[in-house]
Amino acid sequence: MMRTVETILVVMLLIAALTTSLFATWPSLRNASSQDLRRIALTTLETLDADNSLSETVFKPSNDSAWDDLQIALASCLPPNVVYNLTVYQILNGSSTELYSPINSISNSKGLGESTDTASYLVTYNATFSKTPGKIGGTYGGTLYMLNCSDASGWWITGYTGQSLAQDLLNLLSQYFQKTVVVQNTTQLGQILNRTALQNETLQNAVVCNVFGEVVPIPQGYYTSANVGYDPINSSYARYCYTLGQKVREYNWTWVSIVGWPLYYVSNTAYFASTQNTYGIYGVNRVGQAGRTAFLQGLDNQPYYYNTTSGVGPGRVVNLTSEAQDYCNYYGLYPNPSQTASRSMPLSVVNDYNLTIAFQMFDTYVDGSSSYVSGALFSNSVSGSLLALGLTRTPDVRLTALGLLGYYKPSLYPIEPTTSSSSRLVILSVGRMGGT
């Protein structure tokens, strides 16, 4: 009996030992110390994209020769015992449950050998990141009038004409407004002053850009008549500036003076054909210091009073305020932050005409007992505004744009490219050939 038990035990042990030795097989030595194929694949893709070549190629049609170059480059940089399959996927969007769709594939083998691994690489190409500006005014305004009057001359805009400045300013500003209307001559200016829309635009709450520097275009006829545009007692067209101020108040306009002393001259090349501005520019009539004052009187609905006492501050180098510099960055406008001002507005106008500084572009400075501001948007407490940039010539219309954008603050909405059109997924599978 014991022998039988012993024999059975021995047989069992032998079977166990043999079975164990039969099944105790180990992975190949290559697997014990295999290379990281996934990392090799990823670094290969990164190498091929070091100069963005891969990103460009995967967006090309499948019959483009760039795919052949990519295959040669792949074959050249991978070791000879490595097989590969590179597949490019289009990223889908919409309601489809499928996220990726293959669009092209290159490979040097049907299979991928004994051991394989895969790396994915997302490439982006032809992506344009842009911004859509919000519109000024919304439903209650948003018209930009650009005074491009062919029958007016400019002053203090040395090196430019009003017409060329108008075009530059339009390029900068038109995208921010609901409607841009170019006022081609003084007749059209007279029409809008008479509440007649030129292109079915909203006249109320508009911005009127006068790009003629210290000159303001004046329509013939009604606006040059006595006690409307002309002050017969003082032989001055300051009365027209007063009327303009009234219109700005009536329509809640923002009147823009891009450089120098606002409303220092009036111009109509036909009406003032034989008059010059005392510096030899014909078609221009000198109003002098009374022009700006009369405008502010009209803006504040004060009675007209011919006043030549208000002046400007002494010449200084002035700097953009920190708020203005912030808006430079936001809107991508980069004028020189230091400017020379020779026509700074006295701060006393704020109290004299019920104004507030709605957006201050340059720091104020003090001279004697008076303070001056070289660039600011002044808003009347009731209605109407004036953007005055009392800088020396030549004008920089980026400052004008900055002044308006800093006041109205239209938002910029980034447009992000859609993933499906600008991104593709590249999958590189690599496998090692050879025995175990």
Partner: protein, 399 residues
């Protein structure tokens, strides 16, 4: 009965011993397998650690400070681009060069063609220091090798007019239908100092990765010149060069004097390798940089013209090059008998596609794990291989 018991007991014991032996052998194999797998994992992660970090300070390649954290990634890149200057500071395993005038030894990184990158040993980082920074000192040994992915071989097939054959091979296949941007720097012997001119162009490779470059009107039979060639397909760049000199006795040897300041000494070969001819050499040096689109630009240097004298009584001159821009220092030289030569020194290892071997030797180690990555140095594609082995304990020969 007793005999039966003895026999059966003996068989039982024998079977148990066999079983235990088999089990022991199996367990031993398993332990070794695990060790090897662990070594492979360490090797892979260490390689990533080296290639995906710039080290600290991140610009240690361009200043004289030693890194406190080791890494080779280009600090201005987020991808697999490596710093040409950090690689330049790795101490070469070849015999250092001694220059008596400075009393210093120089690490000698060379491609074996006579052109070297000689850097003061004091400004290089050695294997021991890097091992300590990587935390492998005493436990693992390693060797890091960088080999250009694309091999560009150039042969002169005709002297008059000068004609070259270029063959470009990748690790897996030829660079078929690739493009070659080349620049022939040819030395003119007129005047007291040698002059040089650059003759650059573009050629296309055929299906076998070959091309012929013809320089009609140039007789290269008795002139010194160097031909630099970048072969490329979109995303993959290789570099090779060919050089001919008429002065086989002497040469001007550039030595890096100060990495941080971009200063280079031009030494006489007599003072370095002890050649018998100590004749003074007139030189004219320039710095050729290569843009991202592989265009060659000649950047004239201050004090680019001068004399190099041998012997202790003559001081050495120093050239200053743009330290943050990789490129090739080209020194044309001329002896009084009219023979000339040209020496090339890469500033950074990429511009001349120098290979790098850094670290210990894996020879004789019982088990060496290797891993590989692709990388880019100065536009040139490299394959980076890390070989790693255990220095401690079990199944390691020679321990």
């Amino acid at each position: 009965m007793t005999i039966d018991h003895l026999v059966s007991t003996t068989i039982l014991v024998a079977v148990i011993l066999i079983f235990v032996g088999l089990a022991n052998q199996t367990l031993q194999s398993a332990i070794i397998y695990q060790r090897h797998a662990n070594l492979a994992t360490r090797c892979s992660s260490l390689l990533d650690s080296i290639l995906l970090s710039s080290g600290v300070p991140s610009y240690w390649g361009t200043n004289n400070s030693a890194p406190t954290v080791f890494g080779l990634q280009d600090p201005e890149s987020l991808k697999n681009e490596l710093s040409s200057f950090s690689l330049m500071r790795l101490r070469s395993g070849t015999e250092p060069v001694y220059y008596s005038k400075t009393g210093s030894y120089y690490s000698n990184t060379t491609i074996g063609s006579g052109d070297s990158l000689l850097e003061p040993l004091a400004e290089t980082v050695n294997y021991t220091a890097v091992s300590e920074l990587l935390g492998t000192n005493g436990t693992y040994g390693f060797q890091l090798t960088l080999t250009p992915t694309i091999a560009v071989s150039i042969l002169k097939v005709q002297s008059n007019p000068l004609k070259f054959s270029i063959n470009v091979q990748g690790t897996g296949s030829p660079l078929s239908n690739g493009i070659v941007d080349y620049c022939l720097i040819i030395i003119d012997v007129q005047g007291s100092y040698p002059a040089y001119s650059l003759n650059c162009g573009t050629a296309s490779l055929d299906n076998l990765g070959s091309a012929l470059l013809n320089f009609s009107g140039i007789d290269g039979s008795s002139r010194s010149f160097a031909l630099l060639a970048y072969a490329h397909l979109p995303g993959l760049v290789g570099m090779g060069y060919y050089k001919q000199v008429t002065d086989h006795e002497n040469s001007v040897i550039p030595l890096v004097f100060d990495v941080e300041d971009g200063e280079v000494i031009l030494a006489h070969s007599y003072d370095i390798d002890g050649r018998s001819d100590a004749t003074a050499l007139a030189y004219n040096a320039t710095f050729v940089s290569v843009s991202e689109d592989l265009a060659f630009t000649d950047n004239p240097l201050q004090n680019s013209i001068g004399m190099v004298y041998s012997g202790g009584g003559s001081p050495y001159g120093i050239l200053t090059i743009s330290k943050d821009t990789s490129g090739i220092l080209v020194a044309a030289y001329k002896k009084s008998d009219g023979t000339t030569g040209i020496t090339l020194m890469p500033w950074g290892i990429g511009p001349l596609a120098f290979p790098i071997t850094f670290g210990g030797s894996p020879t004789g180690k019982e088990w060496v794990s290797t891993d590989m990555r692709q990388a880019v140095v100065d536009n040139v594609g490299y394959q980076v291989v890390l070989s790693m082995w255990s220095l401690e304990g079990y199944e390691v020969t020679g321990q």
